[in-house]
Amino acid sequence: MKIYSRIMAAVVIGTMVFATGCSSTKPTEPAKTEEKAADATAKEELVMATNAAFPPYEFYEGTDVVGIDAEIAAAIAEKLGMELKIEDMEFGSIITAVQGGKADMGMAGMTVNEERLVNVDFSNSYATGYQVVIVKNGSEIKTPDDLANKSIGVQESTTGDIYITDDYPNADVQRYNKGTEAVQALIQGKVDAVVIDREPAKVFVEQNEGLEILPTEYVVEEYAIALAKGNTELLEKINKALEELKADGTVQTIIDKYISAE
């Protein structure tokens, strides 16, 4: 019995290690996007993974996920002759889904950085993002520099989380699964401030009394679409579609629709 269970353990662990080893060498099958998609009876799906708790980029309106990312993705899908399908999941799972081929692309106000580029490819940028600080009215935090020793709520794995972790090693970073939960914690006094993207921040402040956004932006960044490493065929198509949409003003129209110009 004892020997049997040891053998079992060895087999299980062995399999896991083997799986890790393999996965690095086997690139994900590129999604088949035939030129003649129009000929096919059913349109091919372009699956977009996102976290729909991030207004105005992606959020629920009834049972549909809408927002800037969703509309840009729909426009891209149209250009590619594909049908867009949106999968809502935890932010931290989006990249996993893209790598594993569960989704063709990840679009959730994601920012390019060196470490992420090791594991995924990014499209050209389609929008500019700002990380801002939300505090309660009358807070002693007046600029991002005051965050140093405070307890700060963030959405786990977002760039806000990463910047804060790097910039303020002494801060008590509370990593929530959703931006809304971080804001809830701020309202309840569980954290002193929330660092999050500016547009969702505006919505949160609008919806909850007694909150304000600090006038100084914390970080400026570029949003891009994440694709599985090595899926260059789809990447090129998306980039081409994106450039066309930017050139003909579609992207700007979509952004303006959700974000009122200041």
Binding site: G21, S24, Q99, V118, I162
Partner: protein, 229 residues
């Protein structure tokens, strides 16, 4: 191979990311341990109240309260209970999240332990009770010295199973921003965008812990069996 090394470096070495795993592991172990203690305490008390009511008809009101507790806890998912305790029960206070998790998982586990213990007590033949009483033990003494030790042996596998489930259930603690082992892996995943290494590392650590627990229980069962002969 170089890619593997680079990924390993990015996932665990760079920025001392292994700390997320190690600290997360210590949080997971602490929460599981104290939640199990609370679970055992609540479980035994509830089980004794319930089985006393079943056997003698006494303790009607406490039994009723216990039934409400069991219905509520077993009728709702542990994640929902955790979020309710964090965002509603402790709605307006800054509170240690590990404490919240221990309370939530302890309350949750208590309900399951209670039913396991009750099944153990009910499985002991009534003749054992009668023997205890005719030896001059009162009800409580019979319970403590005669029934519970025998019941414990019967329920040990089910109890061990409950604590294995508890250990793995704590992986939802990340919902209240508590950085347990799973959340630690998720945080690394969010930074490196590498799914496989952090997830499999976390999986292997849980697996090893559960195997350790199983081995411990097997030994305990064997030792307890010795007294049968």
């Amino acid at each position: 191979m170089d890619n593997f090394k680079l990924r390993f470096y990015n996932n665990f070495i760079a920025d001392e990311r292994w700390r997320y795993i190690v600290n997360g592991l210590s949080v997971t172990i602490r929460v599981t341990f104290f939640a199990a203690l609370i679970g055992i305490a609540i479980g035994f008390v509830v089980a004794i109240i319930r089985s006393t009511y079943d056997k003698t008809g006494h303790l009607k009101v406490p039994n009723f309260l216990c039934e409400i507790y069991l219905t509520l806890i077993r009728g709702t998912p542990v994640v929902v209970q955790l979020l309710i305790i964090y965002f509603i029960v402790f709605g307006t206070v800054k509170i240690d999240k590990a404490f919240v998790a221990i309370v939530a998982f302890g309350l949750n586990s208590g309900a399951y332990v209670a039913e396991i213990v009750r099944s153990g007590i009910m499985s002991i033949d009534d003749g054992q009770f009668e023997a205890g009483r005719s030896l001059g033990f009162n009800y409580v003494q019979t319970m403590v010295y005669i029934i519970t030790p025998q019941a414990f042996k019967n329920i040990l596998p089910a109890l061990a199973n409950e604590f294995i489930v508890l250990l793995k259930e704590t992986s939802v603690a990340g919902y209240i921003a508590l950085q347990d082992l799973t959340k630690g892996g998720d945080i690394i995943r969010g930074r490196t965008f590498d799914a496989f290494m952090p997830l499999l590392t976390v999986a292997i650590i849980y697996l090893v812990m559960v195997m350790g627990m199983t081995a411990g229980v097997t030994r305990l069962e064997r030792r307890l069996r010795n007294s049968d002969h």
